[in-house]
Symmetry: C3
Subunit: 274 residues, 3 copies
């Protein structure tokens, strides 16, 4: 796919403005740094336009959404669009409350996103206008399997056609779809679901990857997912050796992000063109 995806991120050090939730914000900042980007967290309406203007990418993450920051997201998103920056949406919990669903729908109506990354329930909510997201996790019946893979690709493609965004659906199997291409990624480890914020971290890293590869945006998004998942695999192997628990696992995963190279990733990525 992209031979120098990581190297280029580390060389360019894309500044990524994040308006994100207060649960996982520290891990988002540290994993962005580990991946080679540079994070700026700022959410006041009085400064988000200026802050995003300094950057190359913007992440809007609606976990711990509130009215104050929604206005900031709209303002930052429009400014980033105007400047042609990469804009990525993480619709955390869309489908779990009207506020999140409506805010996510308003954001995709008023802002052009380069990538929308969520779990299958969140993405379904964006397509159908409501959903049954279980808090911040996908609902039990909602899952991408080997059997429904093609159906899910068609489904994601509709949202891509409507929004112009690359659609990334992550879970046990990950999909990345635009209007003409589709990729399936099979990296990762189930233990990643036992730490909070892997999705948020991935969204941040993805913004940095795409910002450094504007011409190859979908490939960069795919590589970000594969990189994160592969780091989760390596971290799991190390965790088993030391018989550690979930907190050590989080640390090892961010460690691996900071140590990942293009060569290493080439040996571990499991990407299928569909």
């Amino acid at each position: 796919m992209l031979d120098d995806v990581i190297e280029k991120v580390r060389r360019q050090v894309p500044l990524i403005h994040c308006i994100t939730n207060y649960v996982t914000v520290n891990d988002v900042a540290n994993s962005l740094l580990a991946a080679g980007g540079s994070p700026i967290m700022a959410d006041d309406l009085g400064e988000v336009e200026e802050m995003t203007s300094l950057c190359q990418g913007l992440v809007l993450n609606i976990g711990t959404l509130n009215r104050r920051t929604t206005a900031s997201m709209l303002s930052a998103g429009k400014k980033a669009n105007e400047l042609g920056h990469v804009v990525v949406l993480d619709p955390v919990g869309a489908g779990a409350s009207k506020l999140r669903t409506e805010t996510a729908l308003q954001l995709i109506k008023e802002i052009h996103f380069d990538v929308i990354r969520g779990n299958i329930s969140e993405i379904k909510t964006l397509v159908f206008g409501d959903g049954n997201t279980q808090g911040v996790d996908a609902a039990e019946g909602d899952v991408v399997t080997e059997e429904n893979l093609d159906e899910m690709i068609c489904f994601a493609r509709k949202l891509s056609e409507r929004t112009g965004a690359i659609i990334a659906i992550t879970g046990a199997i990950d999909l990345v779809v635009n209007t003409s291409k589709a990729y399936v990624i099979r990296n990762g480890n189930p233990l990643m679901a036992k730490i909070t914020g892997t999705g948020c971290m991935l969204t941040g890293i993805m913004a940095a990857y795409v910002a450094a590869h504007r011409e190859k945006a979908i490939e960069a998004a795919v590589m970000a997912i594969s990189a994160m998942g592969y780091c989760g695999e390596i971290a799991y192997e190390k965790l088993k050796q030391i018989e550690g628990g979930t907190s050590t696992y989080k640390m090892l995963m961010i460690d691996e992000i900071s140590k990942l190279t293009d060569e290493k990733l080439k040996g571990g990525c499991k990407i299928e063109v569909r």
Copy 2:
């Protein structure tokens, strides 16, 4: 006490809605996941009723309290009461400022709590209507000792009678009291006081334990304290071997929560029926 307390939590995966402070929120989420529950953090008045409706338990934690989230706590608490969900209060810093004292008193007046968990100064504040909590730690003179144990149980019982809640007072020695029963727990390690958020994490875990054991609520609350304390003990033994510091200690403690089993806990819990 309860032979399958942990197993049942891991099987049921209780969803716990937390309106909590931004200092320790990430550790609360990760320790809840480690214990077998699932966290949802949401604090906007526009969504807390819906969010809490999806859940089995609610935690109200008044650390970094502000006016916006107080209204959300009242709304979520009333909804959770209406639905018969487990509701747990962590009156962080009650007694340290009028705002915290008054908010805590308002919460226990308007919401029924299944459990109130705090340090001795915070609990005294709820009983007397004001206090001398030293920031977020108990005041120096306020301490549960072997000598004043029975007195403290009587004292906690009064608050239990008034509120209908189980009262959990944690410190060097931990007490759990309702109108008819009293337990003393002697697990834990002094180093736990050297990391921020052990109390907040415990409150989150306790909500999950109690949500999975509604018929045995006080026993579940006791087991949660014992489990957390025992994990602190095991973590301390491992820390000594590697000569680590306080940050490694936090990681090891959450690790142990994620690896704890009922059998292991049975071998380590130090619970006295009083």
Copy 3:
């Protein structure tokens, strides 16, 4: 310099009230505890005066600034001044947005600070009234080097003369300057820039050091920088041995803060009187 700087902090356990950003707040609290202080995070206008009254020091950190907390900062700062408490400013991102620049300028106009600690771009912004801070990092051209060291000291001294504060400029080389003295500190490791919050943590620790050494404020500020940098050095040596990444590095750094003694620091501090 100060033979018992750490011991005295650990003995006095200064309570430090922090109004700070939600990105690094957990690490600030844990590193303050590790250093021997005790953190209180509270930002609502309705309680900051009372909370700061309980404490010995106050940190105002403008990362993730918003209008709600700016009013709280002004209120807490004035109260702390009235009570003669140590007050430290961390002007995170001053120069990156008008809001941050203007807020920082308003704070230094209305509040007396004992110490102002920032990167060179942030400090320049306070001197010139605007700046070109790159998000939360110094701008590329802005750097303290062996060549411009004397010039930078003169420059910092002007801000010290105007504000009455000790000025601490941190980066590859660190400077601490008041109206009559100047120190250069050469501890630290470049990897510290690859984790978020080292500056914020340092500001918190510095407040505790200065609060415990009011008569020797500038020396305490210098020792805080040296201590943090030296811990970064030891942590780096340990990291290399285990071939860890940036997340392990953060943990090891806070570990070393918790294990640091005056004797150890004496063997590692690189402080030049200028």
